[in-house]
Amino acid sequence: MGKYLRKKLIVYLITFVLAVTINFIIPRLMPGDPIQSLLSRFSGMEGGREILENQLTLLFNLNQPLWQQYLNFWKSVFTLDFGISIIQFPTPVLDIIKRAIVYDLSVLLPAIILSWIVGNKLGAYSGTDKKMDNATMPFFYFLASSPYFWMAGIVAFFFGVKLGWFPISGAYGSTSTPGFRLSFILDFIHHWFLPFFTMFLVQLGGWAIGMRNMIIYERSSNYSKYMSSLGASDGLIRQYGFRNGVLPQVTGLALRIGRIVGGAITVQVVFNYPGLGRMMLDAVQNQDYFLLQGIFLTIVTMVLVANFIVDIIYMFIDPRVRLSFTEEV
């Protein structure tokens, strides 16, 4: 597979190990007595005693040596046994994650892909057109400067409250039940739009700025100057600049996914959208550490997988990497 992918894979593997280790260490470093606080939470629940014992064996096993605890922790990671949620007692954490992840992916994937495509196109135009550049760049900078949750507030205020076009809370109306029916799907899209649009807008600014800078840089290079001295049109020069500028933008995508996912957490809080981010905050506020750990690991895994996919895409679109891969050079 080449050195390129192997190196990346090693980094991702170490990151994953690190994430699991953080999950393992932090409750043990926590000030106060986690067991006491768990005891008081479970005391009123039916069958709480046994569940609690299981949880504690799973997570702490404090009577065993530390390395044994650590190995057990890994075992539970591989069997996807994250324990049982305290908020939604007695639902397994894994079930909650499975339910929530649909909402994350349905918002994040289209928002990331569309904003990347549209942002790059707009940025390329700004880079070649001085007038348009002066008019649009402040706007793009402003979009890129906005905290995600704040943009969510604005979008909710204008499109949800002022214009009343879209609902601003939840993933579907309180009267509809999930299922593959047209009425539900329409309702779902209706609720989905504003969180999607928020994520789209904030990212758009960053991509446009990045591509604009790349195009300006490419235009000062010799091949562009030569082309324009040959009388090539602006559009043609832009096209060639775009092809060169798009590679760093793909790398940028890999670098930014973590941050985008972070922004999605806050957006889900504003729209009360039941994805992983919303669940994560619920878990923090209710000290549901099992749920928190499970979601953290899921988010880390999601980001790592996304990074890996971007790496592979990069390999296919960069002719240099592709050619070295098929050994034609």
Partner: protein
């Protein structure tokens, strides 16, 4: 006298006469003045009941009042202080750590030491920032301003390290660096005098970008209720607004103004950065 001064500090002259820098700097100074002197312009404390609730902006309450009758202007300026303070400290830590790692990795470029530093950097780049911060912050029961800054900077330094490393790589084969090496100066001195001093303007711009990033991360944590445990912050003002259905009730002055100040500040800093870029790069200056 004056012309001599400008000749000596040519970069500074180009920086301060750049339109974008002037525009950005004006806004940044205004926002900082607001944070410093704002609390003196208001007769209330940020937790006080200041008057009737649900009031839009007026001459008495510049940014209106919250639903439970607190003055939004007071809360915003006090919150701005806290958020800016965390942002500045975190940005400074992140820049210092990032530069240190970047200089060392770049100077020892290609060695195992460099590989190890870069691997560590790449790990911190891919780990989702906010999720990690939530986990850390959630388990710390008491968080002060400095603790917040350290938490935020943990995930902020890596990209600086990468950028500074590549700059160092391009500088370290210059002749004057080789001369220092032959003169057996120690590494710290070479890095400080030959490499860092030539990257001063670059590092300054990196700091501005770090400051932008750390403020965004800080305000997001604050919004999730994981900011400093005492006092008020910009994110917290907006969290209250969202929790009390301020958006549904159309209270834009509560939910939107505090964030607007931050977004404008960060936009202004971006402007300064592009302006400085043009001022420091003679090639861009002519355009």
């Amino acid at each position: 006298m004056l012309t001599e001064f400008w000749k000596k500090h040519e970069n500074l002259y180009y920086a301060l006469t750049n339109k974008k820098v002037i525009f950005g700097l004006t806004i940044v100074i205004f926002v900082f003045l607001l944070a410093v002197f704002g609390p003196m312009l208001t007769p209330y404390e940020y937790g006080d009941y200041a008057g009737e609730g649900y009031m839009p902006p007026s001459s008495q309450h510049f940014f209106g009042t919250t639903i439970d009758g607190k003055d939004v202007f007071t809360r915003t300026v006090y919150g701005l202080r806290s958020t800016l303070l965390v942002g500045v400290i975190a940005g400074t830590i992140a820049t210092l750590v990032g530069c240190a790692v970047g200089f060392l990795a770049g100077y020892y470029g290609g060695t195992l030491f460099d590989e190890l530093l870069m691997m560590m950097t790449n790990i911190f780049v891919v780990i989702p920032q906010l999720a990690l911060l939530i986990v850390i912050a959630a388990f710390l029961e008491v968080r002060g301003v400095v603790v917040m800054a350290v938490i935020v900077s943990i995930t902020a330094w890596p990209w600086t390290a990468r950028a500074v490393r590549s700059q160092t790589l391009s500088l370290k084969n210059q002749e004057y660096v080789s001369l220092s090496k032959i003169s057996s100066l120690n590494v710290g001195r070479i890095l400080r005098e030959d490499i860092a001093s030539n990257m001063f303007s670059y590092v300054f711009m990196v700091f501005i970008q770090q400051f932008n990033g750390t403020m965004l991360a800080t305000v997001q944590l604050e919004f999730l209720g994981l900011g400093p445990t005492k006092g008020i912050s910009l994110g917290l003002v907006m969290q209250n607004a969202v929790n009390w259905n301020g958006i549904q009730l159309g209270m834009w002055w509560w939910a939107i103004i505090p964030g607007l100040i931050l977004a404008v500040l960060i936009t202004a800093l971006y402007f300064i950065n592009t302006g400085l870029d043009a001022a420091f790069n003679p090639r861009l200056r002519e355009m």
